[in-house]
Each structure stands twice: as C-alpha cells, then as structure tokens.
C-alpha cells in the first residue's frame, strides 16, 4: 500500500486515540471522585454537541452546503426516540436493549426528514439549503411546541390545539400524556450515559472518516469543489449531496436521542436557531473539513463558558477572546471564503447566476 494511504490512516488513528484518551481520562476523573458533579453532568451534553458538530461538518465542510437547521433534525430524533422509549418502557424492560433501539429509531426518523428536505432543495444550485433548513428548524420547533399527544383506554388523542386538549374528556385512570405542548415530554427513562455516548461517537467518527476516504466521500468533495466538473466526470451531484445530508441528519437524530434521555423534561424550545448556529460556530472555528479539529473546537468552546463560570462578569469577555484567537489561528483564507459565502451579497449573487460554462 502506498505511503499516502498509510499517512491518511495514521491521521485517523491519531483521532481515534485522542477520543479514547479523553474518554479514559474523564472516566478516571469521575471514578476517583476528583471531578465535580458538574463536570460529570457536562459529559453527556458535550458528547451530544460533538456528534452534532461532526455531522454538520460533513454537510458544511465536506459537501460545501450551508445548513442552518441542524437543531431541527436533532429535535425530530429526540422526540421520536423519547416517544419510543416512553411507549416501550414496560414492553422492553431491559434498558440496554431498548435504548440502542431508541437511538436508531431517532436517527432513522431524522434521516427521513433530511431526505424529504433534500429532494426538492439539493437539485438546485446555490444556497437554497440554508434558507430551507433555517425554516425547517423553526417549523419543527413550533410544531412540537404546539403538539398534544396522549393515550387513554379510548385510544389516541392528537391535537395541535391547546384548548382541544384541555376540553377533551380523558379517562383519568388510564390517561398517559406523551407530548404536552410547550411542556414537552416528561418521564423519558434516563437511559443516556457517557459510556453509550462515547460508543456512538466512536462508531460515527470511524464511519465518517471511512466514508470520506472512499469513492462516496470523493464524489461528495468533488461536487463541492466544482459541480460542473463533477458532472462531467459522471458524478450525480444531487445524489452525492443527498448522501452527505441524510447521513448528517441521521447522526443529528441520534444525538437528539442521547440528549433527550439525559433530561427529565424534553421541550422543543431548546432546539432553536441559536443551537444550530452554535454548532455551526464549532464547525467553522474548528476549521471545517478536519474532523479532529472540529471535535477539539467543540469541546473547548462548549466546556469553556462552564469552566469560567466562577469568573462571573469576565466570563463572556474571556470567551470572546478565545473565539477571536481561534479565528486568527484558523486557516484564514478558508474562513474568509466562508464568510464571503455567508454574506447577503454573495447569497443574492448566487441566486442570480445562470451557470454559463467555459
């Protein structure tokens, strides 16, 4: 095998070792009691953000599409997974059997959502995906925020109307609330833990790095670098972009399940635009493309505000300084190119191009 393939593998193994190292250290800190309860409480959320960031990086960094609604896919996954666990709690009582099923179901439902969004949008050239995913995220949030789902011995009650829910005559003895509007889902079994999160992260990162370094990954990158040339080489650009987008949605959905099984109450308002943008910031400041850097950026940027909490007023100031330093350390022209892509002027220009080819 060639040197090049070897050196690529080396880079992968560095990433895997890095993840394992972080896991082992965190576990040791927790087990020996050195770490505070707060530190322990951060492990699952950080893992969830790592999953969100690596999956969004596949879309933004590798397929070159801008997605502003990653939280929406996480939300869909979280609700699907929680509903499954709630309903199956008494059917499948072994949690370590039920929870992986919930994770996969959450991922699948989110992947279907990604597929449905992708069908109309990814055929088009230009940053339509940014606009549609932005809308998708908001719509999903509001949809779940107003959704009422309950069961009693008379059957299933479903409504998008709060007063219909209040007025409905439930059989009090057998009534079980599943989704209760803005109050969301309560009573999801707390099956999530750091070990499972770590396993899911490892599987996803290995799968993603293998994918990127296969013919599929090359077609995704080719479609990003030059759409017209990619088509001239016989690559179905829509399919390549769709593959990246659906896989990313799947992982975001799984992250949502890990997240929702770590909470007492799951509410849709958590999955807002700010969450999507936060993950995008992790990806962009991680330099895009390189998965390990994106993971490092996520861990630092997520943990930092928490670690600095003791400093009170200076916290956000320090956080801002770190952001600026990371920006400067970043590959500058790439960041500049990305900013250019984000600017409104560039967006308008993209909608107006007719696509002449020389």
């Amino acid at each position: 095998m060639s040197k090049k393939i070897k050196s690529r593998n080396l880079d992968k193994y560095i990433t895997y070792s890095f993840l394992i190292l972080i896991f082992v250290i965190s576990q040791l800190l927790v087990m020996t009691g050195v770490a505070s309860n707060k530190f322990e409480g951060l492990l699952v959320p950080i893992s969830v953000y790592v999953l969100l960031a690596v999956s969004l990086n596949l879309v933004v960094g590798f397929s070159g599409e801008l997605s502003l609604g990653h939280a929406g896919f996480m939300c869909v996954g979280a609700y699907a997974g929680s509903l499954f666990s709630l309903l199956m709690q008494n059917v499948i009582t072994v949690w370590w059997l039920r929870f992986p099923m919930a994770i996969i179901i959450g991922g699948l439902v989110a992947a279907v959502a990604g597929f449905l969004i992708g069908i109309p949008v990814l055929r088009l050239r230009g940053d339509y995906l940014a606009i549609v995913t932005l809308a998708f995220g908001e719509i999903i949030k509001n949809l779940f925020n107003n959704m009422y789902l309950a069961i009693d011995k008379n059957g299933v009650f479903f409504s998008m109307n709060a007063s219909a829910y209040t007025k409905h005559a439930f059989d009090a003895a057998t009534k079980q609330d599943l989704i209760k509007g803005a109050q969301g889902i309560t009573g999801t079994p707390n099956d999530s833990n750091f070990v499972i999160c770590f396993i899911v992260i490892m599987i996803c990162v290995i799968a993603l790095l293998n994918l990127i370094d296969s013919k599929t990954g090359r077609s995704i990158k080719a479609a990003r670098d030059n759409r017209i040339a990619a088509e001239a080489m016989g690559i179905d650009v829509t399919k390549a972009k769709m593959t990246a987008f659906v896989i990313a949605s799947f992982i975001a959905g799984m992250a949502g399940v890990l997240y929702s099984h770590n909470l007492r109450t799951l509410v849709a308002s958590k999955f807002d635009y700010n969450l999507s943008i936060l993950v995008l910031v992790f990806v962009v400041l991680g330099g895009m493309k390189n998965m390990r850097n994106v993971i490092i950026a996520t861990i630092i940027l997520y943990a930092l505000p928490e670690a600095l909490r003791a400093l009170n007023d200076y916290r956000m100031l320090l956080y801002a300084i770190v952001l600026i330093v990371m920006m400067l350390l970043n590959n500058n022209d790439k960041f500049a190119a990305f900013k250019k892509k984000l600017s409104i002027k560039a967006l308008i220009a993209r909608f107006n191009t007719k696509g002449g080819v020389k």
Binding site: N210, S214, T216, R218, N226, E231, M233, G234, K358
Partner: protein, 254 residues
Amino acid sequence: MPILETKDLGIQFGGLKAVDGLYIKIEKGQLYGLIGPNGAGKTTVFNLLTGVYQPTSGSFYFDGEQISNSSPVSINKKGIARTFQNIRLFGDMSVIDNVKVGFHNSYKYSMLEGVLRVGRYRKQEKEYHDKAMELLKVFGMENEAKLLASNLPYGKQRKLEIARAMATNPKLLLLDEPAAGMNPNETAELMETIRFVRDNFDMTILLIEHDMKLVSGICEEVTVLNFGTVLAQGKTETVLNDPKVITAYIGEDD
C-alpha cells in the same frame, strides 16, 4: 460508422446564434481539430456535446446513438469526457484523488463496504490507486500525486485535467485548449503525449486549439468555425492554407 456525427447542430442565446448548422463527422481513432478565432463558438460546441447546453436545433450521434438531449452525467457514462478551457479541477483535493474521481463509476463496491472497509473495498482501492498512478505517469506527474491540485503549476493543471478525463474511460476525449499558457517546450511535449494517448488508450480525440503548430502537427482533420458557422473543413494542410481561413485569423482589414 463515425464515432461522432453532428447534424445541423446549433444553439441560440437570445438573438445570438453561437453555433449554427454544424455538421462534423469524426471517425474512430481520429485526432480531429476544432479551430477558429475568439468567440467563434468552439467551447459552446463542447458544451453541447457534453450536455451542459441543450441544442436549440439539430442533433448529434455518438457511436450511432442519438444522445443530443442527455444530461452531462449520462453522456459521460456513454463515453465522452472533456477538459475545460478555464481549468476546473477539484482544487481542495489531492492530485491523485482528482484522478480517482474520474474512476468513480468504475468502482464496484457499495457505500456500506466503503464505510465498513470490507468486501471489495480494499482490493478495488488498491487497483484504482495503481491505475491512477499509471495515468499520472503518462503525464510525468507521479511525484506530484499527493499535492493539492490547486497548488500545481498551470501547465500541470491542464495535464491533470486530461488525466482525470481519461480516468472516466471515454471513447471520445474532448480537449479545450490543452496547450493554453504553455511554453513551446511544454507544448511540444504535450503534442507527443496526446498522440501517445490516442495510440495507446484506444481513444478518439477532438481538440480545440489556438496553437497552429500543435494543430498542424497532430490533427489529421480540422473544422474551422467563425461566428458560429463552419468556414472550412477537411484535411488539416488543405484547410490551413485556405485563403478564407487565413483572412479570418488575421482579420479582414490589413
């Protein structure tokens, strides 16, 4: 049966007939030239033949099959590959990965095999890695395999475009100004390489070129376009000595 035949092929942009009433017949194994002044419509012909533009009149036949309304992807799968006048490499990918993208439809392993690294994945990655290296060797670029494509010097970017197009295993190769920006030495070397490719890879080549030395050196037949229409057509020597052609190139007012 000619490998490529266009019949009354044309395209109109608004009021401009960029290509009009084009008849070309190219036999298998030929090295055919398409020349003409700037803006004559040469690149537009390539865009028609590769499905980037749909013709507004006429049609063309590849290997006897009418493919004038196909998509770029399906035309490439049928066996036509091209290079671009304004280089369109995959700039953020390595040189060898650019060539491997060309092999995309030759790989037979599934996405799942690729993700799990099982089944046909390893064998085929090795096989096409070696094939990509062989192609790079044809252009003397085997030592640049790991470079980022955008970091290559201009001349080598043009060569990589050809190597990448060849990786799609075409029967007909369309080269849009392959020698543009090259010095006379590089051009002479490229001429040899193009001939070598035609002779050893079983390809028919249609090329656009402004360098008359290259055209007269390797093209057996040429078509001269001017303002979208055919000015002259036939054996290279005869056509290049045609006073009409000389006037079109030098300009009418002297």
